[in-house]
């Protein structure tokens, strides 16, 4: 019967250690996601969209964002920008991605180019386009993540100060 008690004891230790490890992993990755997400969303709010070119040559929209990762794990940040028509047709899109080591900051610059034909069709009337921003954060070898998507329509200005 001593053997049985030994097995039960080993299983109890394994169970406690596994539970502690799982909750530690959840806590660390949850904390990393929450703080880096909050910091970067604030960075998104304070960053300004830059526009270059004109409808005859094509327009390039650039959004630079300063991102910080005060968390404890590496974070993979992805920013997707989309310019949509009223019928939700994609006029132009741009994607940028950066790996941010724990405790460091990175600048992510995302650009999208609108061709002259599309710029003349859609950008002459700003109320006819919608701007979609999707911000995604993943950590723990990209196994867990958090994202926010915002759509701004009706000719509202792109995010900026």
């Amino acid at each position: 019967m001593e053997k049985g008690k030994g097995v039960v004891r080993v299983l109890a230790v394994v169970s406690i250690v596994a539970t502690l490890c799982v909750y530690a992993v959840m806590g660390v990755s949850g904390y990393t996601l929450a703080v880096s997400f909050a910091q970067s969303v604030m960075g998104l709010q304070s960053s300004g969209m830059q526009m270059s070119g004109d409808p005859s040559t094509g327009v390039t929209l650039t959004l630079p964002i300063a991102m910080r990762n005060p968390g404890l794990l590496e974070v993979n940040a992805t920013l997707k920008l989309k310019l949509l028509s009223v019928d939700k047709e994609v006029i132009a899109e741009g994607v940028g991605s950066k790996r941010i080591p724990p405790g460091s900051s990175e600048n992510l610059i995302v650009s999208l180019y609108v061709s002259p034909e599309k710029a003349q069709t859609y950008l002459t009337d700003p109320s006819g386009v919608t701007f979609s921003i999707s911000f995604e954060f993943r950590t723990l070898f990209n196994l867990v993540g958090m994202s926010i998507s915002v759509e701004m329509g009706g000719g509202g200005p792109p995010p900026g100060p």
Binding site: M1, G4, K5, V7, V8, L11, A12, V14, S15, A18, T19, V22, V25, M26, R138, L140, L143, V144, G145, M146, S147, I148, S149, V150, E151, M152
Partner: protein, 155 residues
Amino acid sequence: MRKIIKAVLSAALYILILVVIPNIGLQYLFQLVPAGSLPRMLIDKMNLQGIVMSISIVGVVLAILSFSANIVEDWSPIKLVSSIASAVVGFYLFLLFIGLGDPSRMGLTQLSIEVATIVWDFRFFIILELLLLGISTMRASVKFYFARKEHLVGR
């Protein structure tokens, strides 16, 4: 007598953590956050009252299971059933937390507020919790097996 005290205390702990504290916390939160503010909109959108109600129900179930598991001997089948049911209900509680009150979301939760949509992808945590559920079930079964064997030999 010691068994009864242990059973009552373990049940009371579940009631305190999952019924009393969340309900008092919710009342306090409603007093703290003014109506019409953005955090209040978020709270209303998340249906926090519904989540607390679900947590309270799970808390009562866990208290009953804990009481029944602690009041009987290790070799009793009631102990085995209660221990496994506790682990399963605990897993359901985790799904409830992760899914913001909706366990069917299985770790992929979406919340829409005005023009913004926030998505949490915590499916990996569900796998980890399933692993813990497996370990708990195995531990309860092995404990029951050896206790039963010892009981039958002793008779």
